[in-house]
Amino acid sequence: MKKAFWLAGAMALALAQPAMAADSVKIGFVSTFSGPTAVIGNDMRNSFELALDHLGRKIDGKPVEVIYEDDQQKPDVGKQKTEKLVQSDKVDFIVGYIWSNVLLASLKTAVDSKTFLISANAGPSQLAGELCSPYVFSTSWQNDQTPAAMGLYMNQKGVKSVFLIGPNYAAGKDMLAGVKSTFKGEVVGEEYTVWPSQLDFSAELTKARNSKAESIFVFYPGAAGVQFLNQYAQAGIKAQIPLYTAFTIDELSLPLQKDNAIGIPGAQEWVNDLPNAENKKFVEDYRKKYPGLRPTYYGAQAYDAAQLINSAVVAVKGDLTKKDAMKAEMEKANFKSLRGPFKYGNNHIPIQNFYLQDVVKDADGQLSLKTVATIVKDDQDKFHGKCSMK
């Protein structure tokens, strides 16, 4: 009898074990880890891991478990992976999402289950407006903001007309709309290309040249940015029509774009040389931990996402059921962001500065990005009025 009692006790303990093991912070990370854009996903993962290193691999004393899932840059796959993370892994947070179309497809699953979703890159206009949710935060931007900053810079330069080229998906449309929202000159043409399969832009470049526009603006993230700059230079248009960009030149594409990228300005909320202590440490440690690689804004945003999660979990002393308190804490953006301090708008999108970046040769003789000027301070996206959260 006594033996049976002990046995029952031991079994109860054994059963209780999983509940104790679950006393960790579980984070799902959805990004692209295969195909030509896998380099972006790798950079985000590297930076996220570095953030966890800096946190001592623990959040509020609890071990952190990260489950990385590959969305293959496809909305349907991203949605499936999000469902898996929410329903079978029961994660506390979902982080990641490079692509706006993947995020839009996955959003409902996360929001319906009241799982916190932190977009570390994608910022579709819908997310900032009618689809905003108490459970969704961004450590990046709303898509329109960065190109809108570029539009402001083009006004400063006195550019009179522009030809816009971008990919035909959610972010591409936001980006071109963003430039148009601030650019005061004439938009002489607007071309959308098939995404992500179209890699030859000869037809669009020919039209841009024949439009007699004073400038060209493009948005081509990842390898497409390399291809666009190649073709832009080979067609001899670089010498004729200046190019302005958003998210087209970064530390991943630069080693392939090489001299083609010199003299082409871009707008960004984070640049590797921003002068704050956290950022210096991030860039130095990244280059130490991953020799031969350099962090990008994708990575910086993923790093910030880890810090944002940390701030929320610490505020509720590890009680992950207190969702309202965690939300309230995250709304304060109470952590040291790599871009410097920022505030959250009512829609949980950062209100932040945007900088002008240029391509220069650094001390090692390698091409790198450099902050030239602040284009706009404390910029808030223009969709926050459509968000029902006040």
Partner: protein
């Protein structure tokens, strides 16, 4: 007017590049009756070899020639080691096996060259635009693609129509059993044809590389187009592939260039700019569907089997 000329050239250049890829595919498919999904991988390998050899030798032309040789050898080795055992099998088995090869090549490339992709920079004499007629400039490199591809097409035509090997290839396409029975070493012929197909794919890859980037999986999207072309042109027919590739290249480019403006006359601006890229990318598949209905054999079918 100049715009139309320039866009026609863009279409011609794209079509000729597709021809290089599809010619190899149709040779293998038509003559060996072998479905090679890994053709796109050979295209990718051509580009990676070229990027590597150009960096080693410092000369674009020399690097490209070495890469061409390397892809030829790779194709022959691949045929000898793996594909030779699949000839008698069902098409489905071949699809499965060559799909496995795609995965194999993608991961091999990831291991050898890393996931980030490579750049293949052009020599300066190829990066300047050329004035072809007054007022129309065209990138020198794209002109070179047109010239090289036309030369290869002519050479291929001469080899297939005027030489003994070409006669055997044509005979193989019409009736494989018969030329085997006539004492021709069909195994050797097949290895040769496969190597030639691989070299053509490699050539397409290395020519395309400076325009695009050299990256993992670069052959997969374009392979679909190559299959469309051989279906339109007629399986096994070099002439058919040549015509179909140019059709497809020009239709695709013209669609992208002029459809948005046409649609904008009918639809609102936003709807037109969204619908136009989708529609223009459908055009070639539409063309394929129409041709399949009207001429299931393709435009220029090879001689009846």
């Amino acid at each position: 007017m100049y715009l139309v000329v320039e866009q026609l050239l863009n279409g011609l250049q794209f079509g000729l590049l597709l021809f290089l890829l599809a010619a190899g595919l149709t040779l293998v498919f038509g003559i060996m009756d072998f479905v090679n999904l890994a053709h796109g991988s050979l295209y990718m390998m051509g580009a990676y070899f070229a990027a590597t050899f150009v960096a080693w030798t410092g000369s674009f032309v020399l690097g490209a020639l070495l890469a061409l040789g390397a892809t030829l050898l790779l194709g022959i080795a691949l045929e000898y080691v793996a594909l030779r055992h699949l000839y008698g099998r069902d098409h489905l088995d071949q699809v499965l096996a060559t799909f496995g090869l795609i995965l194999f090549f993608n991961d091999a490339v990831r291991l050898i060259w890393g996931p980030a992709g490579l750049a293949l920079p052009l020599p300066t004499w190829l990066t300047v635009p050329v004035q072809i007629i007054p007022g129309v400039y065209y990138p020198a490199y794209r002109l070179m693609i047109i010239v090289v591809a036309l030369a290869v097409a002519a050479l291929l035509y001469l080899v297939v129509m005027r030489t003994r090997v070409g006669m055997l290839i044509r005979a193989g396409a019409s009736n494989r059993e018969m030329i085997g029975a006539l004492g021709i070493n069909i195994k050797l012929l097949f290895t040769l044809v496969f190597g030639l197909g691989a070299a053509l794919a490699g050539l397409a890859g290395l020519m395309q590389a400076p325009i695009l980037t050299v990256q993992i999986g670069m052959g997969e999207n374009i392979l679909i187009l190559a299959f469309v072309i051989i279906v339109i042109g007629g399986i096994g027919s070099i002439r058919g592939v040549f015509m179909a590739a140019i059709f497809v290249g020009i239709i695709d480019t013209m669609g992208r260039a002029f459809l948005p403006d046409l649609l904008r006359k009918v639809l609102s601006g936003a709807a037109a700019s969204t619908a136009a890229p989708a529609l223009s990318s459908m055009l070639i598949y539409l063309l394929m569907a129409i041709i399949l209905v009207l001429r299931p054999e393709g435009l220029f079918p090879a001689a009846k089997r």
